[in-house]
């Protein structure tokens, strides 16, 4: 059994905090969650809604029906009544507005409780949480603990004051609706879980990968990485710079990476557009850099707080001139940790920009992730600096014997040395007895500028070989869900659509045999590895959250495979299982 709880109210009145508190409480009670926030690009005056899908099992999609709808204002009811069923519970205050429909009405006198206890508007949320837990048959303990954590710094009086509102909501249900209480959220045994967003997962993945420098300019929906990293900076030992613009952000990170520190930047499409010039700069200087893009609907300012996958081709083709980059994407929170940590290794091993694609839906929605998954990942992850001439412990480079024996001590080190795999040894600036320049101009092996034809060819070909090496060694094929051999219908997708596609597969089980090919390593693509996934006599359907079918175009460009059937969505909303099934043509 699973259930959806949704709370709505006016923007600026704590809906986000309340939703997250609900997710954490439910997670502590031993359930898995997946949540999503709807909000306009406003601080006050708009409508916010926070939806939590709770299940006994791992869950990563939203469901269309809302089982418990908490209406802190009338608009919540008006906007979301279409998702109610006969069995749905609607929590509202009769004194403020009336609701009319065939569902279970739960009247909670928010206004009266606030007046009686002399509370502020924001404490409506605490009453709502108490009432919600009560309706769902949960104990109140975890909510009380959260209030204690939140307010303990302000003293016991404040803690108790807030507890009163939680208890008032909780007891109101117990006293008035005891027969209607659901027995859903009873505490159950399960391994400890965390509640994280895609942005949190990128932040954690960065720390696991020993990335120490993050630089950004705030842009929805990537901004919480900047704030999370900044909150960790002193504790973890990171340097985080909120730069004057995205151009400065990526260039500060490039400077940081030059010194041998792992560095990244995060932004959305518009901010990435400003970074593109320097992506090319990182490409030719072969300075590793990880770029995180949380997509939102464009063009231009677009729909800042909604979701889309409209920047894939832009990311793939970003930058002037021909240089190498790797584009990866994550489909859920677990994969975001894996892909992020892998991105830092790839950036350093291949000395090139690595882009990690996310979108608003993945970046801002929370999902349960077991502590065990994180612990196991940390145990198995190895930081790979590639050909970095550096002794990690003291920040000084170590030069090979060959270099040391050379007579001319300052000219032996070749930053852009021609090698078979295309990767040249990288030296940490400050290493005594040496120097080199990272040159944005085309250069000789030693870094000096050149305009000669042959050295130009040598360097272009050297850099190109890095892609060959990557495709041979580190390119990962797409993952298949379902039985590809038996399937009649095969969905092809990437990124945050994964949860919806897998749920659609379950719902279609009785009608047809399906498989799902999900890509994480988006560019460059290894044609030889990918071709066997595309077989004759099967119906392939591309699922993407954009209007062009961008990954389809990329697949055609890189492999010659053309997927004619497409399920595309580009109204700012995420792909859902229902959307796939509705648009699925048998």
């Amino acid at each position: 059994m699973d259930i959806t709880w949704k709370i709505g109210g006016e923007a600026g009145f704590g809906i986000m905090t309340t939703g997250l508190a609900f997710s954490k409480i439910v997670s502590r009670l031993g359930y898995q969650i997946f949540d999503y926030v709807e909000y306009p690009s406003l601080i006050r005056g708009g409508h916010n809604a926070y939806e939590v899908h709770v299940s006994h099992e791992n869950v990563s999609h939203l469901k269309p029906e809302v089982d418990v709808l908490v209406c802190l204002n009338k608009e919540t009811y008006t906007k979301h009544q279409s998702s109610l069923t006969k069995k749905s519970y609607v929590i509202y205050d009769e004194q403020e507005f009336t609701v009319d429909g065939d569902f279970v009405k739960i009247n909670v006198p928010f206004k009266k409780i606030l007046a009686d206890l002399k509370g502020q508007m924001i404490m409506k949320n605490t009453i709502a949480l108490g009432a919600s837990l009560s309706v769902l048959g949960a104990e109140i303990d975890e909510l009380i603990k959260i209030l204690e954590d939140q307010f303990s710094k302000k003293g016991e009086a404040i803690v108790n004051f807030n507890k009163n509102f939680a208890n008032a909501g909780y007891d109101h249900i117990k006293n008035n609706y005891s027969k209607k209480v659901l027995k859903f959220l009873t505490k159950r045994e399960s391994s400890p879980s965390l509640v994280m967003t895609g942005n949190d997962a990128f932040s954690l993945g960065s720390v696991i990968a020993d990335s120490r420098f993050y630089c950004a300019y705030p842009m929805t929906p990537s901004s919480t990485i900047l704030t999370t990293m900044a909150s960790w900076a002193e504790k973890v030992g990171l340097v985080v710079r909120h730069a004057e613009d995205e151009i400065a952000a990526i260039n500060t990170a490039i400077g940081a990476s030059f010194t041998g520190v792992r560095a990244s930047v995060g932004t959305s499409g518009g901010g990435f557009a400003l970074m593109v010039e320097s992506l090319s700069f990182a490409g030719v200087t072969e300075i590793p850099i990880v770029v995180f893009i949380a997509q939102r609907p464009g063009p231009a300012t677009g729909m800042p707080t909604w979701t889309e996958q409209g920047d894939l081709l832009f990311a793939v083709h970003a930058g002037h001139g021909e240089f190498q980059k790797i584009v990866l994407s994550a489909s859920d929170i677990e994969e975001m940790i894996e892909v992020t940590a892998e991105a830092y290794n790839l950036a350093e091993v291949y000395q090139m920009p690595v882009i990690v694609m996310s979108d608003m839906y993945l970046s801002e929605g929370h999902k349960s992730i077991t502590k065990k998954f994180i612990d196991d990942f940390i145990t198995n992850y190895k930081v790979n600096h590639g050909k970095l001439l550096k002794e990690i412990t003291n920040g000084k480079s170590q030069i090979t014997n060959e270099d040391q024996n050379s007579n001319n001590k300052t000219k032996n080190y070749l930053r852009y040395k021609i090698t078979e795999d295309g990767v040249s040894p990288r030296l940490i600036p400050g290493t005594p007895g040496h120097y080199y320049q990272a040159n944005s101009y085309e250069h000789l092996e030693d870094g000096h500028t050149t305009e000669e034809a042959q050295p130009r060819l040598n360097q272009v070909n050297k850099r190109a070989r890095k892609w060959d090496t990557y495709l041979k060694i580190d390119f990962k094929p797409p993952k298949v869900y379902g039985d590809l051999d038996k399937a009649e219908v095969v969905f092809v997708s990437w990124g945050s659509n994964k949860g919806a596609v897998i749920e659609a597969q379950k719902q279609l089980k009785d009608k047809t045999n399906t498989a799902f090919i999900n890509f994480t390593h988006l560019y460059p693509l290894n044609k030889k590895i990918i071709l066997p996934f595309f077989k004759e006599n099967k119906k392939y359907i591309l699922v993407e959250n954009n209007s062009w079918g961008q990954f389809g175009k990329l697949l055609l460009q890189e492999t010659g495979i053309e997927i004619k059937e497409k399920i595309l969505r580009y109204d700012g909303r995420t792909i859902t299982p229902e959307y796939i099934i509705k648009n699925f043509k048998f």
């Binding site: 502590r28 994280m196 900076a233 710079r241 490039i254 520190v261 400050g430 990272a438």
Partner: protein, 304 residues
């Protein structure tokens, strides 16, 4: 036998010691400059090398970020750990180097179009942050490398290929801009006075915090107004009684540039914490030299 070995060891130590502290102009000299004959950049290039030698630095001891322009072309003529950046972007690169390895002295060698035009926003914010980088600007009023269009410091009315009827905008005043934006060291020098440049660059290098050295630099090929003669008639050195730590008098002094009077020397200098001094996490060692953080439970607990 023992004695001989001991003597040799001592000799080697002395030699090493001397090698370490004695660098020469030659050590810093890369390719031969491709600047026009008579260009002010020759003088600036020599002054930088001389200053570094006098400070007992070797090419391995510092990081230099070059912008794009005639000034930035020094990348091939000066030996050091270096980035030859993009046009306008040298300052954020320099900041990134400083924040991750603050033990390295960091210099940015840039031009006026580069630093006050394309990279103007970066310049303001580098001043605001009092980032501990030394910014040496070749200020010649023109874009030399793209054949002489007017630059942000060109005098109003200056005629160039891009402004055939004379530039409409008033010039940027680098000195007032830097001082009002929070720079803690603001100096001006002149490419025709190597001794003054060496002294000023050394003072900038020794300053803790953001340092601007705006070098008035004649472009002999494209700028027929701001010539050596032009500057020789209008520059003057600040006297010993000049109070460089007073904000208001520094602003007034800097405004003389608008009347084509060019004070040379340290116009403004105050002591304040650099940006990186505010970061406790890199107090004891540079970010690059720190051990890897592995106490992951300290951050995962926030998500439970």
């Amino acid at each position: 036998m023992m004695e001989e070995r001991l003597r040799r060891n001592i000799l080697l130590k002395i030699l090493n010691f001397k090698l370490k502290i004695m660098s020469s102009i030659q050590d810093f000299t890369g390719y031969s400059p491709t600047w026009c004959s008579g260009c002010g950049d020759h003088g600036i290039g020599i002054a930088i090398k001389q200053a570094l030698v006098q400070m007992n630095l070797t090419p391995s001891d510092l990081a230099v970020v070059f912008g794009i322009g005639c000034s930035g072309n020094m990348n091939d003529f000066l030996n050091a750990y270096a980035i030859h950046s993009l046009h306008g972007r040298a300052l954020p690169n320099a900041i990134g180097i400083k924040l991750t390895n603050h033990r390295l002295p960091v210099i940015a060698v840039v031009g006026d179009g580069d630093c006050y035009g394309e990279g103007g926003n970066h310049f303001i914010h580098a001043c605001r942050g009092n980032h501990d980088i030394k910014v040496l600007v070749h200020d010649n009023g023109v874009y030399g490398l793209t054949t002489g269009q007017s630059a942000p410091t060109a005098k109003q009315g200056y005629k160039s290929k891009s402004t055939p009827s004379g530039i409409i905008e008033i010039p940027i005043n680098p000195l007032t801009l830097a001082i009002s934006s929070g720079a803690t060291f603001v100096a001006q020098s002149f490419a025709g006075d190597p001794a003054h440049m060496i002294q000023t660059i050394k003072a900038a290098m020794n300053h803790k915090g953001f340092a601007l050295v705006n070098v008035l630099q004649p472009c002999v090929t494209f700028n027929k107004i701001n010539t050596y003669q032009y500057y020789l008639q209008r520059v003057y050195k600040l006297g010993g009684d000049y109070k460089k730590d007073d904000f208001e008098s520094a602003m007034i002094k800097s405004l003389e540039v608008n009347k084509e009077k060019f004070p040379l020397g340290i116009i403004y200098q105050v002591q304040k914490l650099s940006y990186h001094d505010h970061l406790p996490q890199i107090k004891s060692e540079a970010l690059v030299a720190k051990n890897r953080f592995i106490e992951f439970d300290k951050i995962t607990k926030d998500f439970i």
